[in-house]
Amino acid sequence: MTRRDFLGIALAVALLALVPLVVTANTVLNFLTLALIVALAAQGWNILGGFGGQFSFGHAAFFGTGAYATAILQTRLGVNAWAGFALGIAMGGLAGWVIGTLSFRSGLRGSYFALVTLAFAEVLRILANAAEVTGGAAGLLIRLDVRASNFQFTSRAAFFWVALALVGFALALTRAIERSRFGARLVAIRENEEAAQALGIDSIKVKLAAIALSGAVTAAAGCLYAQHFLFIDANIAYGTWISVEALLAPIIGGAGTTFGPLLGALALHGLGEAAKLFAGRVPGIDLALFGCVLVAAVAFAPDGLLGLARRTRARLARAEA
């Protein structure tokens, strides 16, 4: 791993960090922060789905676990918000490991794996909606207590920068994976699991590591959401919306790439806002559009925006030659 690998990431993060200095409208900052939170969740998905080829349709399971973990720790046990954040991430990783152990050791792949992840997310949602500790259907409110030590900030820009820092960290993590033996093995499993096994790769162990990492990163997004909005309920934390967006963003941006999820999340949310502008505040318009975009992406740009860019560049290079 060279310093050059991380230069691109540092540049991108630095550029984005300038945004709150230029844009001061709170609505825009909120919008961008949410996009970054989704990007972070998507980066988690990307590790398992993009690099590992195991498509999870229930990443809400990790998002919600992170969100509820930090919320419950703060509201019911008085734990410090930053500690709650760290613990939430750990819980997400654990959830990943548990779901992975159950699914991968039973040999579930492809559609079956997607189905079981969907079921796990739904089970958690039903439980969270009914249980007392999670506030049941009413949800959980984190007490407003604006102090940096409490992970709550007065300025929207501060949240933006925290989210950006986490996204930047996830970008670096993804790049590190991409250039490592773990990453090479993960990708080999995606391409052909049997051939990978024949080359000495313990595919279950590798997939478990991937899902644990994936769960941890997506849980971080959940924790961030909880801190930013200070309210979660079962449909927000474990709802299909985040399972969908965490999957859609990498597919649109380019699954299995470092920048894909970030690009995809920004594109998707931009598209969603544009849709709302044209069609008014009709609920569901943005997601309906996302569904169509997913179909179109698979049909015309299966390797996402980055793949499209790569192919166009190659075509232009050939045309010049």
Binding site: Y112, A119, A288
Partner: protein
Amino acid sequence: MYSPAIVAEAVVNGLLTGSVYALVALGLTLVYGVLHIINFAHGALLSCAMFAVWAAHAGLGVDPYLAILPLTPLFFGLGYGLQRFVIGPASHGSDSNILLVTLGLSIAIENALLAAFRSDTRTLSTDYGFQSVEIGPLLVSKPRLIGFAAALAATLVLWLGLSRTDTGKAIRAVAKEKLGARLVGIDVEHVYAVTFGLGCACLAVAAGLLMPTFYVNPRVGNAFVLVAFTIVVLGGMGSIPGALVGALFVGVVESLSGLYFGDSLGQLGIFLIFILVLLARPTGLFGAKA
């Protein structure tokens, strides 16, 4: 704890619900058995069908059972078109792509319904909606009894169609051996589309049978389809008798868990069974190899 009469009633109710679940599950298992894809859009399509029945009643005063007549061919056509012109071409044959395309369709349809009808739950009322029939010591809802009979009849029709007609044979041929079927001149793309169409047609019938006693909102199909997934996985991917038996079983389990554990956790029992079956035997109790 509960008197035998109450438990018996729960069981009977479970069977009645199960029969309609069977119709929903049939579409899913048929599509899997022939196209070897898990149609994630099945739930959204059911919501669509149920809204269609509701709209026909609210707008034109059409009785839900009668609405089945025009809606079945309509949804057959919709399903045919979706497979032939959207799912088939978009996926370029790759399994993971098909997964994503049906997911995309599911999101698009569900949210389009949300945009059009908002999230309010709607019901329709008919004269016979609350009528009941006495069977021995039990009081059974009349429309649900009709639903039971009609669902079984529809299953039988589908089963006969698949075993006796030429199209049915073509469908079974493609399910068994796609390349061989193509080599003997069967238009596989057409068969795929017909199968998908049949799956959607089943949904139209199920919607008409459900609406007199049920409600509809854009998310309702999801609840049904996750149950349908459980049934298909339990009864076997691609097995029609499996879907029927599984559906009746799941209907009874759901009814009894609702009785003993309360409504909010009733669905939980089903998902847990779902996860357990997936982990233990993904091909189900009757199904072919995955």
